[in-house]
Amino acid sequence: MSKTPQHLEKIQRSLVRRYRAEKAFRWCGMLAVTLGLTAVLVVFADIFMKGTGAFSATYIALDVTYDREVLGIENFADQRQVNTADWEALLKTALRKEFPDVRKRSEKRKLYALASNAAGYDIKDRLLANLRLLGETETIWILADDDIDAYYKSWLGGNAYTARLTDGQLGALQALIDTDRIQLHFNANFLSRGDSREPEQAGIKGAVVGSFMTLILTLVLSFPIGIAAAIYLEEFAPKNALTEFIEVNINNLAAVPSIIFGLLGLAIFINLFHIPRSIPIVGGLVLAVMTLPTVIITSRAAIKSVPPSIREASLGMGASRNQMVLHHVLPLALPGMLTGAIIGMARALGETAPLLMIGMVAFIVDIPRGFTDPATVLPVQIFLWADSPERAFIEKTSAAIMVLLGFLVTMNMSAVWLRKRLERRW
């Protein structure tokens, strides 16, 4: 065909159309990415703004006198005496001394409410650690109640939240502010304690440890089983109706809503096998069952991506099927398998619904010390705090989300890093 002017013109016109379409497509893509990123940024910014407050707590400086009379302890070696002593009395004395004008009983009670009701135990710990302080007076920073914390933080922000405080308390707080005896300090409690009904004492450690134990179990169970299943299905299983059926059902399982796995755990692990509720073992089992399809599917994809030439090479060398898999296929597929496992773990870490069904939603104060201790996990802790009425739990909730996100980001980044690290070219 000769290239007449009309012919060229037609090509040019079609080119213009094509470029326009390409440009539009590119813009659509960029718009989608921008929208997605903006949404994520807004969520993150909101959580961070709300959550950072939880990493500091309000403390009040008080002159505490370690008075044996007030405590009523005669012998510090007697554990019973020490434990039943009125440690809060030291605190109350110090507060009365600080605010001598407060006389009425009801006002006094309000005054005592400035300090957290755990403050007495802090004083006890301090004195027991160093008995020479007995009889001395020292200025120490006392953890404030969560209402005080909320007030002080909002006051610092310029918009004081006074709803839950009396005039007497507000006056006392103003006096403390004027003398700089109220301050924000780093909130070590948040990272080192378990849950509590009192927001100022509530910490994330119980949930972190619970999550950690549950996940360890999930990994230990689902990774080897998943890989073994994937290798068998991919390399050894005969291709027949049965394996086809299994394959379809594994894919189905991956799409089953997670709460169903919780029900399964409740019915099988708890009701049938009588594993106690609320413990990491049962949580790990349920999450392992839930993660298994993901691990199997990603592992199979990783095995499939190993080039057939490597298989042929090893079989051609006289390797048995087993040797081919162990020496060649597995090392090459492992990075992909690990990535799949980590992504599965990340999903398990963020899972709440199935754990609600098996009792890991309980209010648990103690930090679990083993796989058989009652525990809760991070997302459930977030759920519990978000459900709590106290205002101070708002920032706790966001802070817990920050901790969870931190773990998730770390896991996903390590997945990427592992893949880069272990990936071998062929």
Binding site: P238, K239, P307, S309, I310, R311, E312, A313, S314, L315, G316, M317, G318, A319, S320, Q323, H327, H328, P331, L332, R424, R425, W426
Partner: protein, 294 residues
């Protein structure tokens, strides 16, 4: 290439599309007229192939092949694409076992031992009949580990020193030693294409096989690398029996003593290489080597 009009091969009407499986009306006539011409059977054979038919599911890829593979000889298998020569080659060390739908019928023997008898261990067979593939496929391991792999899994080396010797000997035989002796522990995949293929040959000969099958070993290589491999094949043929599938007729002419011509799943002609290329017995062979199709 459309050859249907230009091809005047006796009474055989050629299918224009050269059916890969060898099915189709053409072959009925081929069967009727066809027995392999030339000297398919020779004395002193290393491997014997009798009445072999190979199927992929319902499709038949190889029809009734009879041929001997001579000891310490190179036999080249040529033929147009899809004629079944690779399939046939792979049946000689049972690599076809890995394909579920593939079925081999007939009798293949190495030193009078039946390849497909249940008594024969396929792992042992592959140690005796090594293979080099079309695309260089070194393991993603070091050069040393590539060559040492065979001896290791077959337990051929008793000591580390033995193994080192085997690796060096194999690499020397493959003409690769001087190029890689300083980087034995670097990745085999980092070598050039030709070097990789020689590494694969070294890997194959490390277990001292009796027969080496080569499936178009040079098709992914440039002419210089090809020349080196061809030299190597010639050297190796002093100690090994070699069966090579090739697309290049020049290569077949250069390296082999005997040539087998396959066409649509049938073995048309087997003769000394010189005769095949100068005075082919069958008109199909002639058409192919003179470049009228293929």
């Amino acid at each position: 290439m459309n050859t249907s009009t230009t091809l005047g091969v006796g009474t055989l009407p050629m299918s224009a599309t050269q059916d890969v499986s060898g099915a189709g009306p053409v072959n009925i006539e081929l069967t009727a007229t066809q027995a392999t011409v030339g000297s398919a059977q020779i004395p002193n054979a290393k491997m014997t192939v009798r009445n072999v038919n190979i199927f992929y599911g319902e499709k038949q890829a190889i029809y009734d092949v009879n041929v001997d593979i001579g000891k310490n000889q190179v036999i080249a298998m040529i033929g147009p694409s899809g004629c079944g020569k690779s399939t046939f080659l792979r049946s000689l060390n049972r690599m076809n076992d890995t394909i579920d739908s593939c079925r081999v019928e007939g009798d293949i023997r190495i030193d009078d031992e039946n390849l497909y008898s249940p008594k024969l261990d396929v792992v042992e067979l592959r140690a005796r009949v090594g293979m080099v593939f079309q695309k260089p496929n070194p393991f993603p391991k070091s050069i040393y580990d590539n060559v040492a792999y065979g001896p290791k899994i077959h337990g051929l080396a008793d000591t580390r020193v033995d193994l080192d010797e085997m690796v060096e000997r194999s690499l020397r035989k493959a003409g690769l030693w001087d190029e890689v002796k300083d980087r034995l522990f670097q990745a085999g995949t980092g070598l050039s294409g030709g070097q990789q293929q020689r590494l694969c040959i070294a890997r194959a000969i490390a277990v001292s096989p009796e027969v080496i099958l080569m499936d178009e070993p040079c098709s992914a290589l440039d002419p210089i690398a090809t020349a080196r491999i061809e030299e190597l094949i010639e050297e190796l043929s002093q100690n090994f029996t070699i069966a090579i599938v090739t697309h290049s007729m020049q290569q077949a002419a250069r390296v082999s003593q005997r040539t087998a011509y396959f066409h649509l799943g049938r073995l048309i002609e087997v003769n000394p290489t010189e005769q095949v290329f100068t005075n082919p017995e069958h008109s199909l062979t002639e058409s192919y080597i003179t470049g009228r199709f293929g």
